[in-house]
Amino acid sequence: MNKTDVLIIGAGPTGLFCAHQLGIIGLSCEIVDNLDKAGGQCIELYPDKPIYDIPAVPECTGEELTNNLLKQIKPFKVKFHLNERVEQLKKTDNRWHVKTSGGVEFDVAAIVIAGGVGSFEPRKFSVKECEKFEDNSLFYSIKDKSIFKDKTISIFGGGDSALDWAIELSNTSKVNLIHRRDGFSGAESSVQKVKELNDQGKLNLFTKYQMDSVNGDKNIESVKIKHDEGEIKEIKSDYVLGFFGLIMQLGPILDWGLSIDKKTVKVNTENFETNINGIFAIGDICSYPGKLKLILSGFHEGALAARGCFKYAKPDEKLRFEFTTTSKAAQERLGIKK
């Protein structure tokens, strides 16, 4: 059981800055995120794309912003729980008990949901029979590549994950790479490599094809793929891999009794608390009249939510407003030596 003052759900910029604000006022926190790294949409959707509207930062990338925020909260030694999705929530007395998908448990005074537009989940095939084979002979991510040795693998997608795995697995497996168009979104060097391997007969590339059906009894035996112009090919396959990027889903948050409208959680603008006492929501996931989905708004919301958490974490103390420039306590928490 991890006991801390506040649990932050979501390690995007808003969640990270909220951790900073909690640290400044002397509260401890831990952060859970479904991705394998901090940064949220900034790191998953646009790590290399520039952002121009962070106050006092004329230009930075999603990755730079994330790294700077991580640096800013370093003094607080915040514990991260990555690759974990919050599943269950229970209130006992004045504490919240939270459990994640991986069985990590928390005992906290307050919860801040900074979940963006939901947790990132792999985008799946639209062909219905695919569900039957999921995690058995059809995968959306690779955990153990040794199972593919000497097998026939059909990989769908045109981004970096599809290309990189096609190249890598072509060393030890028979690989078919299927993509819906001639162009690829992955790195140009990988595209060239795939084309070379195709020319050398070390990989079979099918472009302008999409999945039509999967066939097999317990395990996949073949897939049918359909060309833009209607022609259908059946290719033998032991395994099917789909790499279509990630989609965002609210997931279990929907079942917590929060007031939800159009995939967002309603909050008050005084401290960004939801309809449930002790649960706050900040960043893209919260809604209120005038809400702007900007990172800078998320920072503001996080600062107020952190102060809102104080009365739950330290009910017998009074929070005094202080500036970091002059507050001895804040500077001590930041580990500043004079």
């Binding site: 646009y46 985008r123 639209s126 045109g158 168009r181 990027g245 989609i247």
Partner: protein
Amino acid sequence: MAKITYHTHDNKTHTIDVQNGLTVMEGAIQNDIPGIDADCGGGMACATCHVYVKEDWLDKLPNKEDGEEDMLDMAFEPKSNSRLSCQITVSDELDGLVVSIPSKQG
């Protein structure tokens, strides 16, 4: 101002007036037309505002920018008439545009 018609997956048709300068995605969101999620808010960073454009309108639309086709790779059942509705800005020329919304975005 242009009249835009959205066919939704429940076989309903919604025809609405959308102001010039807004996108086809914004027209849907502001009028509560179901099926367009627009998770990223119009940044061409997701594919949840994916629509199928009626064939005879395809060449009247603004060209795809770099990146739109890449995002469409991630869309649910992309076809040759697929577009991201956040990338179609409404103008008088688009009066009468017809789009269909896929059965789901994820």
